[in-house]
Subunit: 301 residues, 2 copies
């Protein structure tokens, strides 16, 4: 699982920082999460092929999370894309995009599917053979969702020595990988556990931005491998965080601790702080495994 | 008169080039012309103060000319702007912007005035004491206007020696600057020409992008000091230029020649050409005074 941060600063794009956007590569699928202004250029800078992105998830309709979407959609069309593109985001996103396409008389060369979200409960919004994506309702000034990306458990691994010892025909292998027992010709049943090993544990990634301190997310993100949680402010600006429905680094770490996640990644920094290492220092007083997102930084998990 | 090019490449923003946007400083007014994605960052890079921009002119609703507008408007608000902002652009632009402000529940901290354009004839869209702005209807795939910025003729310059020789009271000076004659106490009329010099000739700037070859603009831009004219293609791609309603460098130069402009500035280059000097070389076979726009380049006229 690989996470590439295209932008992770709050509010306005600047010469050296970009608003929120990131790419999650999981089970060979590439998901674009949020799409602030300049995302298409950040994709180019980070050498991420446009053609690999088929699903874009938008957390909420504040500009620093979606003003780059129309440009990205248009550029995909200008480059002659033909593959379907799916957009998941708050109700209204379809109108914003289609109005601009209509007024510019520039329709896409590919099918564009909108999956508009309105539910205040977590729901499954994407599922295929290997990955499932659920919303994580957040607490912000407009309707906002985080997203939980979960690998599905893979096949069990064949115990090659065991199947040879039992002289099991190869036609049973798929059944064994799927967890099934095997009945030999003499009627003996061989339990699956004797013929296979547990699969590689599935990975999970939770993206939570933007949100005030919100313990309701904890049961939804419990035990995830990686939690990206916004930390717009430091504890010294706690009341500002509360007022604007953002979190401090300390609050993000508290959520990570209570949800028993393995790794916390911080981001969505206010640009008032010169050096982002202060966010890590503050979070580590609560939770040990903290990484700092930064534009252009990649993490492999 | 100073022209700063924020972006002058066609179609999509890239790592090293930006879509159309430029700032014209004329008579101490700053006009932002077009606003492709990334314009606000280009303004920062070029150290142009956001607070100095009170009027934004949008030629047409293709993305490479306006996708940066909503971000610019939002950033102005996030920075607490209070001064009115005027947007001039094709009908529909108000709906695009206000829809996004409404859905993000992010209203501006300042008054936002939309001046929507629909006329196919040239019209005056801005006028104050010193500057007048008119549309230049262009020929493109969607409704498009260029813009003509004209300084108004300034006051005549007082001939200090002459007014002293005639012993004229200072209370007449403003009348003389305005072109008036002076009647002395003995009834003698002194003609204005004897008391003043011609004012500095007013400057003019015409912005013509995007457009196919369109001789109808010639009477509107005749004798301008500076013409920015799109040259998306070279003559070798003439038929593609015709089909997409863009111009070649040769065609831009032909318009400059026929309109008897003093200076031609080329821009809106297709990114298919590695080196933009080829545009200048081609245009100079037709018209001698050619400058090449490039991102971050400034011209003083």
């Amino acid at each position: 699982m690989k996470l590439t941060i295209l932008g992770c600063y709050a509010a306005t794009p600047r010469t050296i920082t970009n608003p929120t956007s990131q790419v999650l590569e999981i089970k060979n699928r590439m998901f674009l999460i949020d799409c602030g202004e300049g995302t298409q250029v950040q994709l180019r800078k980070n050498k991420i092929k446009f053609s690999k992105i088929n699903h874009i998830f938008i957390s909420h309709l504040h500009g620093d999370h979606f003003f780059g979407l129309i440009g990205t959609i248009s550029t995909f069309a200008l480059l002659g894309r033909t593959t379907d593109l799916h957009i998941y985001g708050p109700k209204g996103i379809k109108e914003i995009i289609t109005l601009q396409l209509r007024l510019s008389n520039s329709w896409t060369t590919y099918e564009l599917f909108f999956h508009e979200l309105e539910s205040k409960e977590s729901e499954i919004i994407f599922e295929d053979q290997k990955v499932i994506v659920k919303t994580i309702p957040l607490k912000h000034r407009v309707y906002t969702n985080g997203f939980l990306f979960q690998e599905k458990p893979g096949d069990r691994k064949l115990n090659v020595d065991a199947v040879q010892n039992y002289n099991i025909d190869t036609c049973y292998y798929q059944k064994i990988k799927g967890g099934g027992n095997v009945t030999l010709e003499d009627g003996t049943i061989i339990e699956n556990e004797k013929l296979s090993f547990d699969p590689i544990p599935p990975m999970s990634y939770a993206f939570c931005s933007d949100t005030g301190y919100h313990e309701a997310v904890i049961p939804l993100i419990e035990n995830v491998d990686v939690l990206y949680h916004e930390s717009t402010f430091l504890d010294s600006e706690e009341s500002l965080a509360g007022k604007t429905l953002h979190c401090t680094a300390k609050e993000a770490a508290t959520i990570a601790l209570k949800a028993n996640v393995k790794q916390l990644v911080l981001g969505h920094y206010s640009t008032r702080y010169g050096d982002i290492t202060v966010f890590k220092e503050e979070a580590e007083t609560i939770f040990p495994n903290v990484l700092l997102a930064d534009d252009g930084r990649s993490f492999e998990f």
